[in-house]
Amino acid sequence: MAQPRARTGLPLTWLGVVPFFVFVGLFLLLPTLYIVVGAFRAPEGGFTFGNILALNTPTILSAYWVSIKIAFWSALIGCAVGFAMAAAVTVGAGPRWVKNPLLTFSGVASNFAGVPLAFAFIATIGPAGIITLYLRHEFGINLRLMGFNLLSTLGLVITYLFFQIPLMILIITPALEGLKREWREAASILGATSWQYWRIVAFPILFPSILGTMALLFANAFGAVATAIALTGPSLNIAPILLYAQIRGDVLGSPNLGYALAFGMIVITGLANALYIVLRARSERWLK
């Protein structure tokens, strides 16, 4: 005789997500937590702010500061250029047929980061790059004498733009397409010029999206390691490279200082991403 299956009182549906939570626990949350806890642990155990305070040395501060500058400028310029390009093919007077190829290309370019990207720029505007030599031989313009060096912060900003601009295009295009035609018509009926429409109507609506995306680009550039190492080697003093050197060979002389350095990076990218989430929620009020 078939017995109806006995029902236990406990709901067992949560068992289905156990593998996922075990996995992210072991390989994402726990390792990160270990770093965060380590940042507040004294070498002999016990809680301390000493490691965080020990970050206050000229080398480490300048590493963070240079990183922040690179991330900020590449995010700002990436946003401006990406916005202009996306606007040109969606709401501007640029050719509409360019839009889809541009989006496809952006998908590729935003994933073309890391070591090969550095190679591409070295081959182009590095000391012996194609364009560097061309300018020198054909026009007598010596980029190096003009103070340009690819293996510098400016060089990193230019290189990072190759994935920052496409990322901006990918994120902002849907927002631009969400601008309703009625708003523009309403504005022009009320006598607004094109410039006034952009300044008073469109830009304030888009502003949270733009600022949010900029925060995302900032975090994206801040955590990038591979491109920087392939471009400049371990010489440039920026936070991710310093952390890389610390993990390889304890250059700071204290493992807990390494945790503190990593913790500082999490805080900065975390803040940037929190800003992105808040601002995106805001922009969604208008752009449905």
Binding site: L28, L29, P31, T32, A109, A120, I122, I131, V225
Partner: protein, 260 residues
């Protein structure tokens, strides 16, 4: 005025994108003095270390994709079917790898799973390989989860599951023969993106000291002149191929679906 401005922005941007692509291609062809040749490519492709590291990274990418699919598809399915309240949490966790720099995650691995810990994964080659695969799965998680979740949104998960159940299917059969084929397009999109990310990944592989393609490229870049440009062209072609396949798959799965 608007016209001038639109075309100006577009042309400047496109020139910026074309410049390094042109530069690396031209440079990679200039190994032989005075004429264009494919010498740099021949040297790279014939290098046994290229073959070994590239093979290693391809294998890693395939294993990462398998691990990611096995982890993400059942989870996303289950969350949609039984635990919708958990969705924001799972979504938030899957986005964390975009927030926490990968160098920090791998730093944690090295300290947490070293030889003197409770789970000494870095103590053996197999263990380290597994750790790298798990690390890559974490990196791919945001893309994989979003792709699969979007795929699940387009099908009626509850009805399909009930229909399969009333025909006597168990959970494994439902997942493998009902749900997976229905979201195959989405899974493949996530898979190709994962491939593009894993194949040239540098930070995790270098810090875990695995012979992957990314660290090999970096080493070559420090020692050679023309070969790195050839590698850059090859890497760009791979990224392009992955994105092209994603578009193809998306288009294909759209046409394949019966209109409802």
């Amino acid at each position: 005025m608007t016209r001038l401005w639109s075309w100006g922005a577009l042309l400047i941007g496109i020139a910026f994108f074309l410049m390094p692509l042109y530069g690396m291609t031209e440079f990679s062809l200039k190994m032989r003095r005075g004429e264009y040749s494919f010498d740099a490519y021949a040297t790279v492709l014939a290098d046994p270390r290229f073959q070994a590291t590239f093979g290693y990274s391809v294998m890693m990418a395939v294993l990462t994709i398998l691990c990611g699919v096995l982890l993400v598809v059942p989870t996303a399915f289950w969350v949609r079917l039984k635990l919708p309240g958990l969705r924001p949490w799972v979504e938030f966790i899957t986005l964390l790898p975009l927030v926490i720099p990968s160098i920090v995650v791998v730093f944690g691995y090295i300290r947490l799973y070293n030889t003197s810990s409770w789970l000494p994964l870095t103590g053996s080659v197999t263990g380290t390989n597994m750790l790298l695969m798990f690390g890559y799965t974490v990196l791919a998680l945001p893309y994989m989860y979003r792709a699969v979740d979007t795929g699940l949104r387009t099908i009626d998960v509850a009805t399909l599951t009930e229909a399969a159940q009333s025909l006597g299917a168990g959970w494994v059969t439902i997942l493998a023969r009902v749900i997976l084929p229905n979201v195959l397009g989405a899974v493949l999109s996530g898979a190709f993106l994962t491939f593009a990310i894993v194949i040239g990944e540098f930070t995790m592989a270098a810090l875990l000291d695995r012979p992957a393609f990314g660290p090999y490229m970096q080493l070559l870049g420090a020692n050679r002149a023309y070969e790195p440009a050839a590698l850059a062209v090859i890497a760009f072609a791979i990224t392009w191929a992955c994105m092209g396949l994603i578009q193809l798959v998306t288009r294909f799965s759209k046409h394949n679906r019966v209109a409802r």
